[in-house]
Structure formats: structure tokens, C-alpha cells
């Protein structure tokens, strides 16, 4: 806890790899040749040709990642403006407008949440936008403490950027907009709570804007992804770059289950913990989960991963499509927010089905698809400890 109460640690650029001269040492190269006969990578199918791998990366960037982060930045900009308007003229209508902007920002975020690459690894951006999981309700405690303290220094751009990460993003703003005392935002004059909300909204917009700009930076991470090769410091060949894209649907499904679904629903109604469901205060749990899944499915479609899978293993992609369809239907059929439905024996059925379907989907995407696409099975590299 001490660590989390400490100010957010500013990122320190240690040594950007893009600035380094990239010369492989002979001692690295020589034995590589020596061992080629022994160390062919384990593949279940022929690898995709390089131009297909490069197309996956290029299409993912152009049609999913950049548009997705642009959409997030745009939504967050609207959120910042509407929150400012709320504080300038508190009313039920302006609170509604701010809440709508929050929901739209959350939807945009959820669509790109599992793209945890390059710009999203910089400056703890992903954690600052969405501190989760939050097993110990740190957001709640930090927000309540900050409201009680009412420090004017916190609700500035600088103060917010230095604050505990639990205060900086969507969960904190959700509490301010929907948690106990939120109704006061609709009745003027605007107080500390509104200034706090405006600072968080501004911070979200700043982080989202910086991430989107970085994805467009012609000399940034995207450029490295697009130009794999022996001189590239991060991606020595087309497959090493493409894997960073093709593994997103599977790792995303895995994270969604481990971090959002399973902790909240438990093994049965008595074991469910509705308070651990994400965005339960705003009632946006189900919407955010749906947007997560739509984002993962959309990335696979727009990057050509689904098409490549269909080409190599039509039945596998059929299976993926069917499970996605049923998963969306199961989400739709939930009678109420996920956490509440999970805790109610009468409403538990679709929750169990959702748990089963997402497990099947994770298996298809994470355990079966890489092999079908002829990707290397890197046991230690991708799941080490």
C-alpha cells in the first residue's frame, strides 16, 4: 500500500533502442549458423509468407489500431469538454451529457484495451487510463480520501499527472460521476468534486491524445512494427512483428476472463462477488465487456487474421465465429449487470454459459489459432516466468 500511496513514478527513458546503432556482434551471429540444423522452430503448419505477415501488421495499424486510438482520443476530448461544461453550469442535463461522454469514452477504450503494445507501454498509460484489476478497492479508497482532503493541488493538470494511478483514469471518474454523492454534481454551484472530475477527464484526454499521436509517429513504435529486419532492434523478422498483432485476440480473451469475468462471477451464486465486476457503479459492465470482445474480433477481422485463419483452417475460423456469436447472445441475455446476475440463482444460467463460451473462445484463439497459422510455438518465450 505504501507504494500505491506514493506519487506516480515518472517514466525515465533509459536508452531508447531506436537511437542505438544496431550491429549484431559476430559472436552472436557465428554460432547461430552453427546451430541452424538443430534448432528449427516447432511449427504445426507452414509459416505464412512474409508479405502476408507484413500485411497483417500494416492492416492492423491502418484499419484497427490507429482508428481505434483516434476514436478514443476523440471521445476523451468530448469527455473533457462536457465535464468542463458540467462544472460551468451544473444541471441534470449537463450531468447526463457528461455521463454519456463517459460511456462513449469507456466504449472506445474497451475496444482498444488489450492492444498493450508500444505507446501503451510508455508512461504507464494503460494503467493510468484504467487501473484494473482493483482487488482491494484502492480506487474507491483513494478517491474518497482525495474528496475528503479537497487538495486544490490535486485537481490541476500537473497534480493529476503526479497522483496515484488509481486517481487518474476511468474508474476514478466513474466513482465521481456515479458513486455516492454524485447527484450533487447536478446542483450548483460546482464544488471540489466537479473540479476533481474535470481534472481526471482532462488527464484521460491527455493520455489518450498522446497515445494516438504516438501510434501515428512516423519514427515511433509503429515504424518498427512495419519494418522488421535484421537491423530492427525489436523485430528481427516479419513473424516476430506479426505475432505481436496475432496474439492480441488470444491474450485479450485470457485477460478478460482472468481479470474481469472469473473474479466477479465465482464458481456459483454464493461465491459471486458483484463488487469485483468492472464499472458496476455506472451499470456499464456488460457494455464494456461487449466492447472488449467487439474490439478483439474487429482487430482479427480488419488485420486479416480471421481471413488467414479461414484460409488455413476454415473449420477453426467457423468455430471462432460461432463462439463469438453465441458469446454476444449470452451477454445480451443477461438479466441485469453481470455481477448481480452472477449472484442470483434465478439469473445465473447465462453467466455460466458466458464463462463456458469465453473459455472455448480463449482456447480457439490462444491454443489453436497460432499453430493453424504456422506461427512458431514459443513455449518459454511467450509464457515464461
Amino acid at each position: 500500500m505504501k507504494a500505491l500511496l506514493a506519487p506516480f513514478l515518472r517514466p525515465v527513458v533509459l536508452l531508447p533502442v531506436v537511437l542505438l546503432p544496431v550491429v549484431l556482434l559476430p559472436m552472436v551471429l557465428v554460432p547461430m549458423v552453427l546451430l541452424l540444423g538443430a534448432a528449427q522452430p516447432a511449427r504445426a503448419a507452414d509459416p505464412l509468407p512474409d508479405d502476408s505477415l507484413r500485411a497483417i501488421v500494416a492492416d492492423a495499424l491502418e484499419h484497427a489500431i490507429r482508428p481505434g486510438f483516434d476514436n478514443l482520443a476523440r471521445s476523451a476530448g468530448v469527455l473533457e469538454v462536457t465535464t468542463g461544461a458540467l462544472c460551468a453550469a451544473p444541471s441534470a442535463a449537463s450531468l447526463d451529457a457528461a455521463r454519456t461522454a463517459f460511456a462513449e469514452t469507456l466504449q472506445a477504450w474497451s475496444a482498444v484495451e488489450y492492444i498493450r503494445l508500444g505507446p501503451m507501454t510508455d508512461a504507464n498509460r494503460a494503467d493510468r487510463l484504467y487501473f484494473w484489476p482493483d482487488r482491494k478497492s484502492i480506487t474507491l479508497r483513494h478517491v474518497q480520501a482525495a474528496l475528503a482532503k479537497a487538495d486544490p493541488g490535486l485537481v490541476t493538470r500537473e497534480g493529476m499527472a503526479d497522483a496515484s494511478i488509481a486517481l487518474q483514469g476511468l474508474p476514478a471518474l466513474e466513482f465521481l460521476f456515479y458513486g455516492s454523492g454524485a447527484e450533487s454534481l447536478a446542483t450548483g454551484p460546482a464544488g471540489y468534486r466537479c473540479a476533481f472530475a474535470a481534472a481526471v477527464a482532462g488527464n484521460i484526454a491527455a493520455i489518450a491524445g498522446a497515445a494516438a499521436a504516438d501510434w501515428h509517429d512516423p519514427e515511433g513504435f509503429a515504424a518498427l512494427l512495419l519494418a522488421p529486419g535484421p537491423d530492427n532492434p525489436l523485430f528481427r523478422d516479419a513473424e516476430e512483428a506479426a505475432v505481436r498483432i496475432t496474439d492480441i485476440p488470444g491474450t485479450g480473451l485470457h485477460a478478460l476472463r482472468d481479470q474481469k469475468l472469473l473474479p466477479a462471477i465465482g464458481s456459483g451464486p454464493a461465491d459471486a462477488r458483484p463488487n469485483l465486476a468492472p464499472f458496476r457503479r455506472s451499470g456499464l459492465t456488460n457494455m464494456a465487456l461487449r466492447a472488449n470482445l467487439k474490439g478483439l474480433q474487429g482487430l482479427a477481422d480488419r488485420a486479416g487474421i480471421a481471413a488467414a485463419t479461414r484460409d488455413r483452417a476454415p473449420a477453426l475460423q467457423d468455430g471462432v465465429d460461432i463462439v463469438y456469436r453465441n458469446t454476444f447472445a449470452a451477454l445480451e441475455s443477461l438479466a441485469g449487470p453481470l455481477g448481480e446476475a452472477a449472484a442470483d440463482p434465478a439469473r445465473r444460467g447465462p453467466v455460466n454459459y458466458l464463462a463456458l463460451l469465453t473459455d472455448r473462445l480463449r482456447n480457439l484463439l490462444q491454443d489453436q489459432m497460432p499453430g493453424a497459422l504456422g506461427m512458431k510455438v514459443m513455449f518459454n518465450a511467450y509464457d515464461g516466468d
Binding site: 507504494a3 506514493a6 536508452l15 559472436m27 546451430l35 516447432a42 482487488r135 518465450a381 515464461g384
Partner: protein, 372 residues
């Protein structure tokens, strides 16, 4: 998954039950089991996990099924006892005595899981295991009585989150432990819960008194370098390999050394081209039998490097697909790859020993290997 009473009950596995090698032994080979030389954890062709004993030619002499994915080991040569630990957040350990064939499965305490590494006391009586007391995210070394069926006697706090690997300093009274700094909780699978605020460190523990004798951390700019695997060289210096959780375009120094005399931790510079090849991830660190060489492996970069322990200079690097496990072997090392490759590494070169299966057919060697 919380443990049940049944899980916690110690139970004997039938000795020799693993004689049938689940299709992994070479067909038609009925020769007597060769002398085991190495222990390696593995994933098997039938989607299971196993502890494998290999001879010097890379042949599997014995394979013990594990109830889940294994990780690292503790070995006591004089009593001939080997323990393989579950990888986090697993709660099982398996003791195997290659000499007489006995096997015993045991578990850690409720509210604890193994991190996957441990060691025996010099006399073989006590077993120490790196564990997570996960409700409070407290790092502990669990202590087990080898003379009483590995009953758990208690624990020593490591003053940090995520103690991943532990080794003895010369003399076998003081242990050096790498607190990886990453908080996890079994309710959330393997999710890393505190990357933004992690505080890895290296600590010296007095095994008898359970006290922290010294502790140090790298500068704050390196707080997202999880210090995980370590080995002590012939001069008593601990070499620690890190896994970086910060921006992908950073290139932090991945190796650090801890000098017990001064109680200080310091980064070791790597030639930039070599550092880049590691993809910010060192999977294991092992000392040679004579303590003069250190080997590091980088599964993400498919690279293993031998280091001169005295000068801190890299001597040679070898490209091995998905390499992770490293065990001392003569003047050099055995390196194991997730592809099934076994490679002998010496400062002068690398020689493939065996590839036990065609691509896609396991065993795929898991993260760690050990010299028996």
C-alpha cells in the same frame, strides 16, 4: 484455486509408476535406464506436464508426471533427493529420489503458492521454497522438514513482493533471494497487479535466524526491472537476471550483480547489440560447476550467453530457439529449448546433443534445468 484438505494431504506416489514413458521413450529401446545427469521440467505430447531425468546423451531415463506445469528445482546430492516445484500460482511440489525411485507429492500451506524455486540446507534436512503469502502479497521462504515427509515448519519473510529464486552464498548459511517485485493473486490467474509501483530488490537472509542481513535495489529508474533468476559465482557474487516490464522501446541493463561484502546491487553493462537481442527478458541464470562462468538465457531473443564471472564480460552467445533451461555441465552448460533441443555450451562453442521429437511433437523443455 484454493486448496482442499485432500490436496494438502501428503500422499505417496507409487514408486516406479512412471516407468511407462507415455510414448516419449524411443521405440524399440529396452536398455536399462541410463544414469540420470540432468533434471528438466517439460510439457508432454499429451498436453500434460512432467519432470524428466536425462542422461548425458539427452535420453529420458525417467519421467514423472506432474499435476500441473512445473518450474524449477532443489537438489541435495548427498541424500539423492530432488524436488520440482509448481510454477506460480501452483501449490504442488514433487520429491523424487532418482537413486531408489521413491516419489512424494506435497503442497505448500493454505494461502500460499510456490514461485517455482527453492533449495536444500547443506545437510539435506530442510527444504526452503520461494512462496507468495498472497492475501497480503508478502514474500516468504517456506521451510519444510525433509526428514518428516516435507511437513511445513514455517516461513521466513523476504521483505519484498515476489521472491522468485534463492541461492546459497558459499558456506550454506546465508541465502540470497531476488524479490521480483510483482504482485499477483490466484483469484486473477497470472495477472501482474502492480507494474506501475513495483519495487524489486535483492536480500540476504540468515537461514538460522530468519533475519534480513542486507537488502538493496536498483535506482528508481529501473523499478520496473523484475529481478527474478539468480546464481552465485565462485567468488560468492550473486548474478541476477531481470525481466523488464517498462516501455518496449527501452533498453535497460538486464543483468545485475550483488556483492554480499558490500551489500550493494549494481547493474552490469551489456554490449548494446547483445542487450537488444534479449528482448528485455532473461529466463534463467546458472553458474558453472567451478563457478568461473555464468550462463544466461533469453527465450524471447532465442539466445544464450556465457559470461566470465571474474571480469563480467560476455564470452560467447549462441542462438537457440526458445532457449530457457540452463544446467552446469563440466566446464560449461546444458541449454534446453522449448522446441525440444538440448545443446551443450562451452566457452568455445555449442554442440547440439539431441532433439527428442520432430517439430510440434513434445517434449517441449520448460523454463529450467538442473545438473544432478
Amino acid at each position: 484455486m484454493p486448496m482442499t484438505a485432500t490436496d494438502r494431504r501428503h500422499f505417496l506416489l507409487a514408486a516406479g509408476a512412471s516407468a511407462a514413458l507415455a510414448g516419449l521413450s524411443r521405440p524399440g529401446r529396452a536398455a536399462p535406464a541410463p544414469a540420470p545427469r540432468f533434471a528438466v521440467t517439460a510439457a508432454t505430447a499429451d498436453r500434460g506436464y512432467a519432470l524428466c531425468l536425462l542422461d548425458a546423451e539427452g535420453r529420458i531415463g525417467r519421467q514423472e508426471a506432474l499435476p500441473g506445469r512445473g518450474h524449477g528445482f532443489a537438489w541435495h546430492g548427498a541424500s539423492g533427493r530432488l524436488v520440482a516445484f509448481a510454477r506460480r500460482p501452483g501449490t504442488f511440489a514433487v520429491m523424487l529420489a532418482p537413486g531408489d525411485g521413491t516419489a512424494l507429492r506435497f503442497a505448500c500451506a493454505p494461502g500460499r503458492h510456490f514461485y517455482g524455486h527453492g533449495l536444500f540446507s547443506a545437510d539435506g534436512r530442510l527444504l526452503y521454497a520461494c512462496e507468495n503469502a498472497y492475501e497480503t502479497a508478502t514474500g516468504v521462504i517456506g521451510v519444510y522438514d525433509a526428514a518428516a515427509g516435507f511437513a511445513r515448519l514455517g516461513e521466513i519473510e523476504t521483505n519484498g513482493i515476489g521472491p522468485h529464486q534463492v541461492d546459497w552464498l558459499p558456506g550454506g548459511r546465508t541465502m540470497v533471494v531476488a524479490n521480483g517485485g510483482i504482485e499477483t493473486h490466484p483469484d486473477y490467474g497470472r495477472t501482474k497487479l502492480n507494474i506501475a509501483t513495483m519495487e524489486p530488490s535483492v536480500a540476504l537472509l540468515d537461514a538460522a535466524g530468519g533475519r534480513i542481513l542486507a537488502q538493496d535495489a536498483l535506482p528508481p529508474a529501473l523499478h520496473r526491472l523484475s529481478l527474478r533468476h539468480l546464481a552465485v559465482d565462485g567468488r560468492g557474487i550473486a548474478w541476477i537476471g531481470g525481466q523488464y516490464e517498462g516501455p518496449q522501446t527501452d533498453l535497460p541493463p538486464l543483468l545485475a550483480r550483488f556483492d554480499p561484502a558490500g551489500g550493494r546491487l549494481s547493474s552490469l553493462a551489456m554490449p548494446p547489440a547483445l542487450a537488444g537481442r534479449y528482448r528485455n527478458y532473461i529466463g534463467s541464470v546458472t553458474a558453472s560447476a567451478d563457478g568461473r562462468l555464468i550462463a544466461t538465457s533469453g527465450p524471447r531473443g532465442s539466445l544464450a550467453t556465457l559470461w566470465d564471472a571474474a571480469t563480467g564480460q560476455p564470452l560467447a552467445s549462441h542462438a537457440i530457439e526458445d532457449v530457457c533451461g540452463l544446467a552446469a555441465w563440466g566446464a560449461g552448460f546444458l541449454a534446453t529449448g522449448g522446441t525440444g533441443d538440448l545443446v551443450r555450451l562451452a566457452a568455445g562453442g555449442a554442440t547440439p546433443i539431441a532433439r527428442l521429437a520432430p517439430p510440434g511433437r513434445t517434449p517441449r523443455w520448460d523454463n529450467h534445468a538442473l545438473a544432478l
